[in-house]
Symmetry: C2
Subunit: 96 residues, 2 copies
């Protein structure tokens, strides 16, 4: 699945409502989903864990749409491995 | 850019170190990056904003790798638009 396609689908699905809500309230929704992911990790129920990962990424895409960030372009720095040492596996032992 | 390919690259680059660190400490790193994204939204510096979006998604992928969640599969529920009303734009007005 292409990041570009998915981010476009999230825009077509939610951007109008995301724009009405604004960046700050959308960040709050995103943070709420991060909290739900934390809970899903604790409870460990498989289907719910996958659902919460997808909700976190969908809200991250909503936020990126509002801020006009192309996530696929942004991820280019990770395409060749570690953005610091440009190796995969990372050999610099720096944290990302 | 394919989500699958990117998640595999993140695994090849960091999974060994992610596994040593464990789920809880990796979640803490992810949460720290979410905080840096919040700050980047406030300061509004463009290159830094894109960098922080990429770091949040890379750490989300590290966490998904540790928990054996395939993010591309998980995002399937968003591929056709809203997972609740299955429309794009969403017509149910429910929050995701």
């Amino acid at each position: 699945m292409e990041i570009e396609t998915l981010q476009s689908t999230v825009a077509a699905t939610y951007l109008e409502r995301d724009a009405e809500r604004g960046v700050d309230a959308t960040f709050r929704w995103f943070a709420e989903e991060v909290g739900e992911l934390a809970r899903a990790i604790r409870t460990g129920e498989r289907a719910n864990l996958e659902l919460e990962f997808s909700d976190v990424l969908a809200w991250l895409m909503s936020l990126a749409n509002l801020l006009e960030v192309d996530l696929s372009d942004a991820m280019g720095r990770y395409a060749g491995g570690c953005p610091k040492c440009h190796s995969s596996p990372c050999v610099c032992r720096m944290q990302h």
